[in-house]
């Protein structure tokens, strides 16, 4: 099996499924690139290069460059999904959902329920998340909690290339609207990825590392960070288990609770401001359903309650960094 990057894994999934299902279309800004220009069309393949080569293979009827009009992009995807296509819409940076949120949460997410179960809205919104790119306050947010709290949406946060492919295929074969959040900082990370199609089911967490002393639950780009800290701690005899929920809606509560039952301690690592975050959500679930397992209070490592700052020194401090994760784990381990 060959190693593939997170970027290539997503491309693989889309390409394979587009070959298989002619109803899948891709739309967004510069998903091909070069339309109307003097040079080559299709040379961009979306600004992070995830859709490279798709225009060449599938042409302009299936790889559709749009004007800069997020409301219309997402709304059109919702309307097309409702009437028989399977659109994959791209919102380049998740921050831009501010422009089109109505089409997501009042429209796409609610059709099925409002229409008494008669409708299906099989669409995917791909968007990039995360700080660490020195991209400033309007290009660095994650916003997964915002989607997770909307009934009707499924929310996917792949943390590695293997899951990225399997979760994308699962999304493309499902019938519900999916928010698929790609971590910018992970695009070049590689793991072994099968060439053939496979599905990673939603709502099934992955135990990314087994351990017995403490459970770390991390989301998306925070998973590799949690794993790195777990390695460091192992040298000091602290055995940390790392759980990657992979989807925040649905959320695999059972795997998290089983892990906490085993370790008795929990630290959450979530790149989000702290209030109403996945960290606070999972902490509440564990306090509610797993109180008897806990040997120490739950700790969360999140961003502060601020926008994302530009200056590198500030941004590095803003993100849940290894130093803060490690400190939280040690504090929980010391509690008695």
């Amino acid at each position: 099996m060959a190693k593939k990057s997170y970027r290539t894994a997503i491309n693989d999934a889309l390409r394979g499924e587009m070959r298989r299902n002619p109803d899948i279309i891709v739309l967004g800004e510069d998903v091909a690139g070069g339309q109307g220009a003097t040079g080559d069309v299709g040379v961009v393949g979306s600004v992070f290069g995830v859709l490279g080569g798709l225009y060449k293979e599938f042409g302009p009827t299936r790889v559709i460059d749009t004007p800069i009009s997020e409301s219309a992009i997402v709304g059109a995807a919702a309307g097309a999904a409702l009437t028989g296509l399977r659109p994959v819409a791209e919102i380049m940076f998740v921050d831009f959902v501010g422009v089109c949120f109505d089409q997501i949460y009042n429209q796409a997410a609610k059709f099925r329920y409002m229409f008494g179960g008669k409708a299906k809205t099989p669409m995917i919104i791909r968007a990039t998340i995360g700080a660490g790119f020195r991209a400033g306050a309007q290009h660095s947010q994650s916003m997964h909690p915002l989607f997770t709290m909307v009934p009707g949406l499924k929310v996917v946060m792949p943390s590695n290339a293997y899951d990225a492919k399997g979760l994308m295929i699962e999304a493309l074969r499902g019938d519900d609207p999916v928010i698929y959040l790609e971590a910018k900082t992970l695009y070049d990370t590689e793991v072994e990825v099968p060439d053939e199609a496979y599905r990673v089911p939603f709502g099934e967490a992955r135990v990314a590392r087994e351990g017995k002393d403490i459970t770390l639950v991390a989301f998306g780009p925070m998973v590799p960070r949690a794993l790195a800290v777990a390695e460091t701690l192992a040298k000091d005899g602290i055995s940390a288990e790392v759980v990657d929920p992979r989807t925040t809606s649905p959320l695999d509560e059972d795997t998290i609770l089983e892990s906490v039952e085993k370790t008795g301690r929990l630290v959450l690592v979530d790149e989000s401001p702290p209030r109403c975050s996945l960290a606070s959500d999972v902490a509440a679930i564990v306090a509610d359903k797993g109180f008897k397992f806990l040997k120490a209070p739950i700790k969360s490592v999140t961003c502060p309650h601020t926008p994302v700052p530009f200056a590198p020194v500030l941004e590095d401090e803003y993100m849940p960094n290894p130093r803060r994760i490690e400190a939280a784990v040690r504090a929980v381990m010391k509690f008695d």
């Binding site: 800069i68 991209a135 020194v313």
Partner: protein
């Protein structure tokens, strides 16, 4: 309207400052001194400077992700800008904003904006303040051709007409939104026609020619200051570089890129003012020399400056909390 020698010098100085600043940004970006990404204004100098020439510090502008030129045209300090772009203490926004969020309210600069189509609604509000407080000032929203396709822009134009506010919608049509040509993305082809259809006067302006922009802006200002509502300018200009510094631009031919460079507002301005004997070439040379030194100093200072204090991370989220 004939501009005085001093005014002509000021215009050239601002245009050349933008040129020198952006070329330096290109260089420092390549050297790794500028974090993130940088969208430069090279080729569009006459547009921003022509629009802002007759504005005071009390007139307001809202800008875009390609905002350095607008900042300079509105009188922002280049050292403060360079410090900001490098994410340093002492930057115009304390290093918290960066290239896409430079703001200087004391200069009437309401911020660059990393959300395409973000500025026009804000500019309508700023224009409403001027109308409400009877200041006689105007507010300008800069947008690109790409941004002209954003719903927020349509809403802002319509509301400005309905509320009859002194807002000027400046569409800098440089032919591209990112990597897609305006000829593909702007349905109907004319941004000026769109503005007209909302019920405001609109002009198509040659953005290579400072004088054309300045004169059109004069008509826009007259219209707005008379209390007759908004005005729009579609300024046709050329993007010399890619969308961002480092964009490989395979979607543009070498011929097209060469042609873009031939529509350079700076030599055109030089030619016009020297041929009309309004300014001497030596005077323009002296301006260039002075500006190059200023930009050099800004860059050196910014490179050497310390980063912001970590303690500033949680400051200024609110006025009070």
């Amino acid at each position: 309207m004939q501009l005085s020698r001093d005014e002509l010098k000021r215009a050239y100085k601002r245009m050349f400052t933008i040129r020198a600043f952006e070329e330096r940004v290109e260089k420092e970006f390549a050297a790794g001194n500028i974090p993130g990404f940088a969208h430069v204004y090279l080729g569009q100098e006459a547009s921003g400077v022509g629009v802002c020439h007759d504005l005071t510090d009390e007139d307001l502008i809202g800008s875009t992700h390609r905002g350095h030129g607008h900042c300079i045209a509105k009188g922002c300090d280049v050292k403060g800008m360079m410090l900001e772009i490098m994410g340093k203490a002492g930057g115009l926004c304390g290093g918290k904003g960066g290239s896409m969020h430079i703001a200087d309210l004391s200069k009437g600069m309401l911020g660059a904006n990393a959300i395409v189509g973000g500025a026009p609604p804000i500019a309508v509000g700023a224009a409403l303040t001027q109308k409400y407080k009877k200041t006689g000032r105007v507010s300008v929203a800069f947008s690109g051709d790409g941004a002209s396709n954003q719903g927020t822009v349509f809403e802002a134009m319509n509301m400005a007409v309905v509320l009859k506010v002194p807002a000027i919608f400046v569409f800098e049509n440089n032919g591209y939104g990112e990597h897609t040509a305006a000829s593909y993305s702007v349905g109907g082809g004319s941004i000026a026609d769109r503005a007209r259809s909302f019920g405001m006067p609109a002009e198509v302006v040659d953005g290579v020619d400072f004088f054309a922009v300045h004169e059109a802006m004069g008509r826009a200002l007259e219209h707005c200051r008379a209390g007759t509502g908004p005005y729009a300018l579609e300024i046709r200009c050329y993007r010399f570089l890619g969308h961002f510094v480092g964009d490989p631009q395979a979607y543009r031919t070498a011929d097209e890129l060469k042609d873009a460079r031939s529509h350079d507002p700076l030599p055109l301005f030089r030619k016009k003012v020297t041929e009309a004997k309004l300014l001497e070439a030596s005077e323009l040379d002296a301006i260039e020399k002075e500006i190059l030194a200023e930009v050099e100093d800004a860059a050196q200072t910014a490179i050497a400056a310390p980063p912001p204090d970590i303690k500033s991370l949680e400051k200024d989220v609110y006025v009070r909390y």
